[in-house]
């Protein structure tokens, strides 16, 4: 590995992706050719993730299941990650490229912050993800799509903001809630009915638990709470004090309260 010292005219600037390109280390994939689309059935796909805005920030949540066709390939993968200290990214789609994209995205934000001495704006971070998705498009068209959600606390506007994306890099800012992945339709219905402008962190978290449960109830690719193995959805809050993932015990107790309420209502 040579020491990355560049002449001023060849300097890649604060972008880590540009640095990789300059050194010829960019991600392989776009040159896979049509052969790559053969035999993709066995590749793991992540399913439902969502984000809900509340008074002081955003809640992000995701189920834990990855599927390969009709099979469950992983029961406890994670799809919600901190992007940096003040924002988070959640992914649905082909698990391998998605994880890689998250890793590169996290590094891109950190690299920018270190080289420039100050972090990107929230909007700037969302645009970085757009650029990554756009360069991933050829691979997505071969059958390996990645569809992320991005959410964070905007320190300039002092509120939580959330962004939805499509495989072309299209960026859509949502005001209240967003979901992506195979169970997103059902999760969205729940969020749409239950959302109101005065949600606090607690009720937003409970709403996320309910939305994911209903998505899992209707969609076979979305995993519900697994009481036997003690596997619960990943829940995180992003506020002015940063990204914070909830401990599993907290999610477990929210889930049991919700399940009690549900079975009580059915009786």
């Amino acid at each position: 590995m040579t020491f990355p010292l560049f002449a001023p005219a060849e300097d890649p600037g604060p972008s880590f992706v540009a640095l990789l390109a300059r050194l010829g280390m960019d991600r392989p994939g776009s040159d896979l050719g049509p052969a790559a689309s053969q035999g993709l059935d066995g590749i793991a796909h992540g399913t439902t993730v969502l984000a809900i805005r509340f008074a002081d920030g955003v809640v992000m949540a995701g189920d834990r299941r990855a599927t390969s066709g009709h099979l469950i390939s992983h029961r406890s993968i994670e799809k919600v990650f901190p992007a940096d200290s003040g924002s988070g990214v959640a992914i649905a789609g082909a698990a391998g490229p998605a994880m890689e994209m998250v890793r590169l995205f996290q590094l891109q934000l950190e690299h920018y912050e270190k080289v420039e001495g100050s972090p990107l704006s929230l909007e700037g971070k969302a645009n970085q993800l757009t650029l990554m998705l756009r360069s991933h498009l050829p691979v997505a068209m071969m059958g390996l799509p990645v569809v992320p959600l991005f959410a964070g606390y905007d320190k300039q506007q002092r509120r939580g903001r959330l962004f939805q994306f499509d495989i072309t890099g299209g960026r859509y800012e949502e005001q209240d809630h967003a979901a992506t992945g195979s169970g997103s339709l059902h999760a969205t219905t729940v969020m749409k009915l239950r959302f109101n402008d005065d949600l606090d962190a607690d009720s937003a978290l409970d709403l996320a638990v309910e939305a994911l449960f209903q998505a899992a109830d209707e969609d076979s690719a979305t995993g519900g709470p697994d009481m036997v193995r003690g596997i619960f959805p990943v829940l995180a809050t992003i506020t002015s004090s940063g990204f914070e993932r909830l401990p599993d015990e907290d999610v477990a107790s929210r889930t049991s309260v919700f399940l009690d309420r549900l079975s009580g209502g059915a009786r």
């Binding site: 010292l5 640095l19 590094l107 690299h111 270190k114």
Partner: protein, 225 residues
């Protein structure tokens, strides 16, 4: 026919060294010191935007004095190198020793082969998981590397400041003691440095993955007392 003038290699090296030293001595000094919970990086720097102290990686910090554009270019190369290595291998594989060696190669190369040597003196600090894992790498303009586990002074009037540090530095001091000692040594008996004159950061063991933290404003004023 003109006869090329002969200059002895000793003279060439001496001239280059003098040139670099003069450039470095013009700037204000900086002090790095280990303390009980990490590494303290303290620079006399009235500018709030042109940084002398920076973050390289999770547990690695950087301090430079001399010509700003030169050490800043090296700093950015260090960040790039560390991020590339962490991306290609793993975050745990990024270490300060490798980085210090790379810097030494570059500085040595400039010193002997380029038109002018780099007028910089740098410090690479690495915080260990335990106090005895802390390392300070001190790099000179000619590529000389020295490593220590106590403290390093770089920049103008370094000798005097080093003597002041030597007089009171002790292993295992807390942050406040270490900071006051460093600021006192930088200031000397006749001056008083206030938070606005200083750029201070720590690599703190209790600060999570990215250990680098700037101490500014209120927090710094409280510590200085």
């Amino acid at each position: 026919m003109t006869v090329p003038m002969y200059v002895s290699p000793e003279q060439v090296m001496k001239d280059r060294a003098d040139y670099a030293r003069k450039g470095i001595a013009r700037g204000r000094a900086s002090v790095a010191s280990t303390y009980s919970d990490g590494v303290l990086l303290c620079a006399e720097n009235p500018s709030k935007t042109l940084r002398k102290v920076s973050e390289i990686y999770d547990r690695i910090g950087f301090m430079g004095v001399g010509k700003y554009n030169e050490f800043d270019q090296l700093r950015i190369a260090g960040v790039r190198h560390a991020d590339l290595k962490g991306y290609s291998y793993s975050r745990a594989d990024v270490d300060a020793r490798w980085l210090a060696n790379q810097y030494a190669q570059i500085l040595g190369q400039y010193f002997t082969h380029e038109m002018k040597p780099l007028e910089v003196e740098m410090l690479i600090a690495e915080m260990g998981t335990e106090p005895d894992g802390d390392r300070l790498f001190h790099l000179l303009y000619d590529g000389t590397v020295m490593d220590t586990t106590s403290y390093v002074v770089i920049g103008g009037e370094a000798d005097v400041i080093r003597e002041r540090m030597e007089a009171s530095w002790a292993v295992g001091a807390d942050l406040q003691t270490a900071l006051r000692l460093a600021v006192g040594a930088l200031a000397g008996p006749d001056r008083n440095l206030v938070p606005d004159d200083l750029e201070v950061a720590v690599l703190a063991r209790d600060n999570g993955r990215r250990a680098f933290l700037r101490l500014e404003g209120e927090a710094l004023a409280t510590l200085l007392g």
